[in-house]
Amino acid sequence: MSEALRETSLTDEHRALGARLVPFAGWRMPVQYEGIKKEHEAVRTRAGLFDVSHMGEILVEGPQAVAAVDRLVTNDVSKLTTGKALYTACCNEQGHILDDLIVYRLEDEKVLVVCNASNRDKIVGHFAQNLSLGTPWNDVSDAWALLALQGPHALATMKDLGAPPSLLELPYFSVTRASLGGVDLWAARTGYTGEDGFEFFCASEDAVALWRALIEAGTCHGLQPVGLGARDTLRLEARLMLYGNDITEETHPLEAGLGWVVKLDAGDFIGRDALRAIKGAGLGRKLVGFEMTGRGIARHGYPIVANGEPVGEVTSGSPGPTVGRNIGLGYVPLALAKVGTTLGIEIRGKVVDAMVVRTPFYKR
């Protein structure tokens, strides 16, 4: 029945820190250490350290690397200069979302694609099938670890670790080769929390050294290890998509509010014709943010109702620890998507009022 869970190179560190480990996408991952609310607050006000080594990483290389990846994603990778990163959707021929990715141009002829852990096999298969022949690529997910340092005190923590100015001044959505805490790595100014911060890609065997160095340097800045529980509330407040919830193979980027990563007039990509047709026909529904105005917490899968009729489903919902309200995302017909519209959320048979609000719920 249940296959053995995979562990990252940091699982023993998590155990020693008292983490509660749970199965997630086939991995044994820390869901929380001290508590979701405290960890959430640490990232918003100080700094948080995440082990997200379960994420998938694909390296595409050679003179055709940029063009090859460009054909597989909706955003325009051909405009990506060396040292820059972009967020994108990866669609099938129907224009539906296979995954959301961050694409990093590490070198002129080296592109890193980061995908969700739950989609790794699917995306690796999709790349294997669709990357132009002769383009060297490699699934490096097992050889690489990924740590995320997020929050306003991320910089101070790195400074204490002796990070060079080039690293401290790295612009948003940029990536550079660096050494930190004695570990060689790729450092990117990206994240999934709505805060300033960095993500570090290093060799799996160096992960423990980097993790310990960051904890040691960060503790006096209020740094805490943060689990997947707070990662989810942080990303939801910032309206960052969670694959499997807010975007799936049943959704397309235009209705998800990801039109900004769909470049129909740039080069061809898989799903472009379908998305052009969808755009031409007009959207039927839209992913909106809402907050509960009645007493209740919306959760993934709860029906959204209007005038007693089901009109959609909650894709993500939870308390928003920083915004101080119970918030959520869900698809509703366009007529109900305007800010200020009252929606009903059916919570265990009872309809509780909610209101469409502007997103992100939280902006630093």
């Binding site: 869901v31 929380q32 508590g35 979701i36 609310k37 529980g229 989810d232 509330t233 007493r295 209740g296 917490i297 959760r299 939870s318 308390p319 620890p321 119970n326 265990r348």
Partner: protein, 130 residues
């Protein structure tokens, strides 16, 4: 470390019951609190409502999940901890004290015999993990 006071009775659904004259006070155990994490909302019946032993009488929500609350005994709800409406975190801070949920006037005293004492409950917990 989770603790289980000796003067309480326990259920397999991780509620505790304290006999106080003619009512029993009900809450959730330290184990349940650990599993839930930060409690954010507690949905409970109103005073005067009847509850059935081992049936759902409310819900408790944490940041991450929703869990059902089960009544340790049948009877009538006498009092509800209204402080939890504005301060659900009381359940985390003191599950056996300020974080109590309801008091119930039992309709069948014999049902109390079906509850576990602390030693039995700890033994039962030992069978759950791993």
């Amino acid at each position: 470390m989770a603790t289980y006071p000796r003067d309480l009775q326990y259920t397999r659904e991780h509620e505790w019951a304290r006999i106080e004259d003619d009512v029993i006070r009900v809450g959730i155990t330290a184990y349940a609190v650990e599993q839930l994490g930060d409690v954010t909302l507690v949905d409970m019946p109103a005073p005067g409502e009847d509850v059935q032993a081992h049936e759902r009488f409310g819900d408790i929500e944490s940041v991450k999940t929703v869990s059902e609350l089960f009544a340790p005994v049948s009877g009538e709800v006498v009092d509800v901890n209204t402080d939890l409406e504005s301060s659900p975190e009381l359940v985390n801070e003191g599950p056996y004290e300020d974080g109590w949920l309801v008091t119930i006037r039992p309709s069948d005293q014999a049902e109390l015999d079906g509850l576990m004492d602390a030693a039995k409950y700890e033994e039962y917990l030992g069978t759950l993990d791993g």
